[in-house]
């Protein structure tokens, strides 16, 4: 258990930054994997993907690149907060599925998520990611509100 990593889900939101701060204080100096899960297709892209000009796969690759960049930002913040952090990215819908899969893959001791409250459009579409992760993963989940 002490050597299994912490999985921090990072989407660049205030709550995600708050989640890193909480981990740095509550679970200091542990190995952390900072994950950003991008959408397979954004809402606009899912309409645009119907066009023959740019195939849907192109959007997916772009979204994965975005997720990689974002995860690296999160990992850098985690390092500044004193964690031994590495970045990881994926694209999936629904988001919770990629989080649970990655947690299983790295055998995470705990999954850390910022709670975004109930204000996002994507939240309306997907439901609460934190609730879904709690329900579907068999691992402890630390839910952190924005500071």
């Amino acid at each position: 258990m002490p050597d299994t990593p912490i999985l921090i889900c990072y989407d660049g939101s205030d709550a995600a930054d708050s989640a890193i701060a909480a981990v740095a204080t509550l679970l200091p100096s542990r190995h952390a994997i900072v994950l950003d899960v991008g959408p397979v297709l954004t809402d606009t892209e899912s309409i645009a993907a119907l066009s023959p000009v740019m195939p849907g796969q192109g959007f997916e690759d772009e979204n994965l690149d975005d997720a990689r960049r974002n995860a690296e930002v999160g990992a850098e913040r985690a390092r500044q907060a004193g964690l031994d952090a590495e970045a990881r990215a994926g694209v999936a819908a629904p988001t919770w599925e990629a989080i649970v899969d990655t947690a299983n893959d790295v055998d995470a001791a705990v999954i850390v998520l910022g709670s975004r409250g109930l204000d996002g459009f994507r939240e309306l579409l997907e439901g609460s990611v934190s609730h879904a992760v709690v329900e579907h993963s068999k691992r402890p989940v630390l839910i952190v509100p924005p500071a």
């Binding site: 001791a109 402890p140 839910i143």
Partner: protein, 157 residues
């Protein structure tokens, strides 16, 4: 709100209702967070006190005392488990409804660094009526909440 919401020496609030899930939550929390100060809380049901008053028109104070004493005994059992799990633990009891409100109030009172809960804080009819305590606490507490699922093997229902 303080400048740093995650100061290291603030206590952890562990919610304990005596269920196997709550016992497991203490063990898991200990593996992650041991060495810290912990307040182990059981929130007794306010509805029992209210029903007694409604039925008898009196006696609610006695029932209230009994419910509080029961919650405190439960919390003491949980605190003992928490000590075994590596926490510097003290018990605390409350009476409230809904349960999440009692938890949130104590968390504010002690300025808890994190609230630890089993994901099956309520079962059956209570869960249907009250919803999930862990979801409610996560929504209302405005502080980190560690939700611990039940142990994998022992769920034989």
């Amino acid at each position: 709100m303080s400048d740093n919401p995650f100061v290291a020496d603030r206590p952890i609030l562990i919610c304990y209702d005596g269920s196997p899930g709550a016992q497991h939550a203490i063990a898991v929390a200990g593996a992650l967070l041991k060495g810290r100060r912990a307040v182990v809380l059981d929130v007794g049901p306010l509805d029992l006190v209210a029903e007694t008053y409604a039925a008898a028109g009196s006696g609610a104070a006695d029932v209230g005392q009994a419910v509080y004493a029961g919650a405190l005994a439960q919390a003491e059992a949980g605190a003992e488990l928490a000590r075994q799990a590596g926490f510097d633990a003290e018990p605390r009891a409350g009476i409230d409804a809904p349960t999440w409100r009692g938890i949130t109030e104590v968390a504010n009172d002690i300025d808890a660094a994190v609230i630890v809960l089993g994901s099956e804080g309520r079962t059956g009819l209570d869960e249907l009526l009250e919803g999930s305590v862990s979801h409610d606490v996560a929504e209302h507490a405005h502080r980190p909440v560690l939700v611990v699922p039940p142990p994998p093997a022992s769920s034989h229902a």
